[in-house]
Subunit: 264 residues, 2 copies
C-alpha cells in the first residue's frame, strides 16, 4: 500500500476515522504513532497527507490535508473478452495499477459462459481489487468496470461510442502496434511502413485517447474481427510470442503508454 | 502449453518417449491419439512437429520433425535486485515468456538476505519455471540465470562485461525510457529532448542489445546508482505510478522490445 484511500463519505471535515484493514495496516505494517504522517487520497479525488491523531485497538484517527493533484487521467479504455476468473482477478488489480479509464469485459465466441457467473465479478469484489491496484500506483481514480453479456449489442451500442485510436490485438494481423498507432520511425531507418494512420495526426496532440481490445486466449473469431473493423479498430500483432492474457494486458498498456508519450 | 519442449538427451534419432507431466498433458488436456500432431521444440534448439505414434497409461511416443527455426534470439540481459520468493517465481516464468537472454539476480542494500536461501532458487525449480514460460511463448531458448550474493563483485566482474545499451530503472531519475534509449520523437512534435543517446546510432542497426537493471521495491541506494553509472548505465524513470517489481519487469520488457523494433 503506497497510498491509503478513503471514500468522500468517510471523512468529516478534515477528520478521518478508520476501523478496518486500513487501520490494521497503519498499526501493524506501518507501525505509526500519533504525530506520524502518511500519504493518502480520496477515491476519485485529490491526494495529500494524513497526520495520525490517535491509534488504538479499535480505530485510527487522522487529520487530512488534500494538497496534491490526482495522478494524470489515464487515456486508455480497455475492452477485454472476459478471461477466466483467476486471470480477471489479477487483471482488475494490474489494470488499476497501470491506469485505465474504463474496462469493458465482454462476451466473445471463445469465452466460456460460466465465467460470467464467477463471484469475482461481484461489484464489491471488483472494487476491492481495483483499490488494491490504485493503492500500489498511488492513484485515486477508480476505473469504471462494465460487464457485457452479449457481443453484438456491446459493439453496436457501446463500442461505437468510445472515442480514441481504436486498436485490436489480433495474432493474425500483419502490422505491429507502432505501425497501426502511427509512430514515426527513427529518422534514417529507411522504413516507411509505419505512420500509415499517423498522417492526419496533429503535430502536438494535447491528449491521445486509445481504445484497446484484447481477445480471449483462443483469439477473436472472424465475425468479431469484422465487427470491430467496421468501427475502425485497426488490428495489430504482438509478435510471434504467445502471452497469457494477464501478461498481454500489462505489456500492451505499457507499450501504449510509451507510444502516447512519444505522440504528445 | 503452446509448445511441448524436450531435451536433446531425450530424443533417439527422431523418436521421443515421454512419461512425465508432458505425457499427461498430451493424454488428458490435448486428448491426442496416434496420428495426431502437436507443436514441439528442442530446448535451445529448433522447433517443429511431433506425430503421435502411441499413447498409453505409461507413456507417449512421438515421431519428431524439427523443421522450424527457433524464435528470434532475445536481446535483453536483465539484472534484478533479488525480489521476494513469490515474486521471483512469477518473474522466472514471465521473463522466459517475454524473452530475455540472461537473468542476473543480485544482492542490493534493500534486498533481504534471507531471499537468497529460498527453495525457489534451486536450479531444478528455476529451470521448471523457465520452461513453463517458454512453453507459453512457443520459444525453445532457455535464458541463463545467475545468482550473485555480493553487489560489488557483480558490478566489477560481471556487469562490466555485459554489452548493449545500459539502462537503469530508478524512480529518482529525470529522463524517461525513450529519452535515454534514444528514440527519435515523431516529426514535428518540436521536442528535442530525446535522441540524446541516439546520435551515434547506425542508421539501420542489425541488432539492438540492451542491459536492463531493475532495483528492489525500495529502490537502489545512492552507492549502487553511482556504481551502475560508472559502467555507463543511464537512469530512467517509469513515471509517477509505482509498480510491483513483477509488473515492472513485464512492462519494461514490453517497452524495450517496442523501442528495439523502432530502432531496427
Amino acid at each position: 500500500m503506497n497510498i491509503l484511500l478513503f471514500k468522500d463519505t468517510e471523512i468529516e471535515g478534515t477528520r478521518l476515522k478508520l476501523a478496518d484493514r486500513r487501520a490494521e495496516h497503519v498499526r501493524k505494517i506501518l507501525k505509526l504513532s500519533p504525530g506520524d504522517t502518511l500519504r493518502l487520497g480520496m477515491i476519485n479525488g485529490r491526494r495529500g497527507t494524513g497526520r495520525i491523531l490517535s491509534v488504538d485497538e479499535q480505530q485510527v484517527e487522522l487529520e487530512v490535508s488534500l494538497d496534491q493533484e490526482p495522478q494524470p487521467e489515464p487515456e486508455v479504455s480497455l475492452i477485454l473478452a472476459l478471461p477466466r476468473p483467476i486471470m480477471v482477478q489479477r487483471i482488475f488489480k494490474q489494470a488499476a495499477t497501470m491506469g485505465v479509464r474504463e474496462l469493458h469485459l465482454i462476451r466473445s465466441r471463445r469465452v466460456e459462459k460460466s465465467f460470467f457467473h464467477s463471484p469475482v465479478l461481484q461489484p464489491e469484489k471488483i472494487q476491492a481489487l481495483l483499490i488494491e491496484g490504485l493503492e500500489q500506483a498511488t492513484d485515486t481514480r477508480l476505473p469504471s468496470v462494465h460487464v457485457h453479456h452479449y457481443f453484438k449489442p456491446f459493439i453496436e451500442e457501446v463500442a461505437s461510442t468510445l472515442a480514441g485510436r481504436k486498436l485490436l490485438a489480433d495474432p493474425g494481423a500483419r502490422q505491429s502496434l507502432p505501425e497501426v498507432f502511427g509512430t514515426v520511425h527513427p529518422a534514417g531507418s529507411g522504413d516507411d511502413s509505419g505512420g500509415r494512420e499517423g498522417e492526419n495526426r496533429p503535430a502536438r496532440a494535447p491528449s491521445c485517447p486509445v481504445v484497446l481490445a484484447i481477445g480471449p486466449e483462443g483469439g477473436w473469431n472472424e465475425f468479431e474481427i469484422e465487427m470491430f473493423a467496421r468501427l475502425g479498430f485497426a488490428p495489430f500483432t504482438m509478435g510471434p510470442r504467445i502471452l497469457h492474457v494477464d501478461t498481454a494486458v500489462v505489456a500492451l498498456l505499457a507499450q501504449i503508454s510509451l507510444l502516447q508519450d512519444l505522440n504528445r
